[in-house]
């Protein structure tokens, strides 16, 4: 029996948390939380293992997502206390000399700093129609940071990759509770692992990685989805055969076309690992369904990423995509970084649908139509924003 007294008592025991509406067709309300270590206010998707989403307003205010607002995603439990002085990175497998490296060992290699977007392959999953099971992210399972560390290829060179290597498998300190569950490990093709941009980072926006973002070391794979950016990195195995492990061969697979697009209900067809991110633009200063006062020009701004290429252009449309106007781009922090954009549209009183699309340096244009696949990966289409003026 719910009485006024029990209502008051429960309100005292657990004050109603602030909620955000992620705009899903169903079940899109989420509480916010400030209870997680080294984190400010985040959208709570799941406490354990943590799934914490960045509020869109953070992207509206920063080129580099602050560490204490950066999204968090873990599959398995992980240590909550890590001593970097004792942490070792083991290099094994198809190498001349297996190694166990301390952070001090790594620090002797040439340092690199790179701006790059880290985005979950399932970012925006909750916005798909029809819906699918999985972490129900809005568009805040992404962030941009200045990563600092060393090149993976320089670390591999210390161990000496032997001829015939095909892939590099990376894993961290996280481990499943159930022993038979597959350890979370991800692989990069050897050529990619040996490229200049893949990093082992200990620094994020001028500070150490927060524990929830992979302290003390994480892989940084610019242009590729976050699933490869292994956190709490502690082992790297050079493989002479393709990785047949669960997390490469069975999970994080998408339909084998660039947009990962199939019709709902259609046979899955051939599937390949998710890899390169698509160009995306996200309007950050107007929430979907917002009511704004009439004025000559309505400011529209947001954030874009180019995938594995820089953002060349961001365009806006308020007529369903018949005409587009270019937005002004903010500072260029490099091809893998967020690029903020701003413009102002002459919106008359009434209802409008505002759209932003990104075009990257390779000429790949964000499509108007949303793609779809059964796992909700690689959301690539324009996210329209409905707005009422006046």
């Amino acid at each position: 029996m719910l009485t006024r007294r029990t209502l008051i008592a429960s309100a005292l025991a657990a004050p109603a948390a602030a909620q955000v509406d992620l705009g899903f067709a169903d079940n899109g309300l989420r509480p916010t939380t400030s209870a997680f270590p080294q984190k400010g206010t985040m959208i709570l998707q799941r406490s354990s293992p943590p799934l914490l989403e960045t509020p869109i307003s953070i992207f509206d205010a920063h080129d580099f997502t602050p560490n204490d607002r950066f999204f968090v995603r873990w599959h398995y439990p992980f240590p909550t206390s890590v001593d970097p002085a004792r942490h070792r990175l083991r290099i094994s497998g198809h190498v001349g000399k297996p190694l166990s490296l301390s952070l001090a060992d790594l620090a002797r290699l040439p340092r690199v700093t790179l701006a790059a977007v880290n985005q979950c392959a399932g970012n925006g999953r909750g916005l798909f129609a029809p819906r699918m099971a999985g972490a129900q992210w809005g568009n805040g399972a992404m962030g941009n940071a200045l990563w600092e560390g060393v090149r993976l290829k320089d670390v591999l060179a210390l161990a000496g990759v032997k001829a015939g290597a095909v892939a590099v498998r990376c894993g961290g300190l996280d481990a499943p509770l159930v022993e038979t569950a597959p350890d979370f490990e991800k692989s990069l093709p050897i050529d990619h692992a040996m490229s200049d941009d893949v990093m082992i980072a200990w620094g994020m926006n001028g500070a150490s990685l927060p524990l929830l973002n992979g302290f003390p070391l994480r892989l940084v794979v610019p242009g590729w989805y976050s699933t490869y950016w292994v956190k709490m990195l502690d082992h790297i195995e050079v493989l002479a055969k393709p990785d047949e492990g669960f997390w490469m061969a069975k999970a994080y697979l998408q339909p084998a076309n660039a947009l990962a697009d199939i019709a709902p209900g259609a046979p899955a067809g051939p599937r390949v690992p998710v890899t390169i991110m698509r160009p995306r633009a996200l309007i950050t200063n107007i929430g979907d369904g917002a009511k704004l006062p009439a004025r000559d020009f309505t400011p529209v701004q947001g954030v874009a990423l180019g995938g594995d290429q820089g953002v060349k252009t961001v365009e806006l449309s308020a007529d369903g995509g018949r005409s587009w106007v270019p937005a002004q781009l903010g500072p260029d922090h490099g091809r893998y970084s967020f690029r903020r954009f701003r413009s102002a549209l002459p919106l008359l009183p009434g209802r409008h649908i505002v759209m932003a699309r990104a075009i990257n340096a390779a000429g790949v244009t964000q499509p108007l139509t949303q793609n779809w696949n059964p796992s909700g990966y690689n959301r690539a289409g324009v996210d329209p924003v409905r707005v009422e003026i006046g």
Partner: protein
């Protein structure tokens, strides 16, 4: 002044690797799944919350009984969840009682 600021930011960005232990405490999880329209959540609570907290379930969109059945099968076969097959019906009854 500008030069000093620029130097300061470079020093900030040239962060050395961490040397000190970092220890954190994680908050409590969301708690148990509630009864839905008289359907007990006991089976779901007993079988599902060892590996993930309850919000993983309550955050999902409306899924069919068949979709939830596939999810239980995945938890069992892929992740080794020791879900008692005798509990499947009670878990499914609760999941679709939304």
């Amino acid at each position: 002044m500008r030069l000093v600021l620029a130097l300061a930011s470079m020093v900030l960005l040239a962060a050395a690797p961490p040397t000190k232990r970092l220890a954190v405490a994680l908050p409590d999880a969301e708690g148990l799944l509630p009864e839905r329209y008289g359907v007990s959540a006991d089976a779901a609570n007993n079988n599902c919350l060892a590996c993930h907290s309850s919000a993983m379930i309550t955050a999902q969109p409306r899924l069919t009984r068949m979709q939830w059945g596939e999810t239980i099968a995945k938890m069992r076969t892929v992740y080794g969840a020791p879900i008692d097959p005798a509990d499947d019906k009670a878990i499914l009854d609760w999941l679709v009682a939304d």
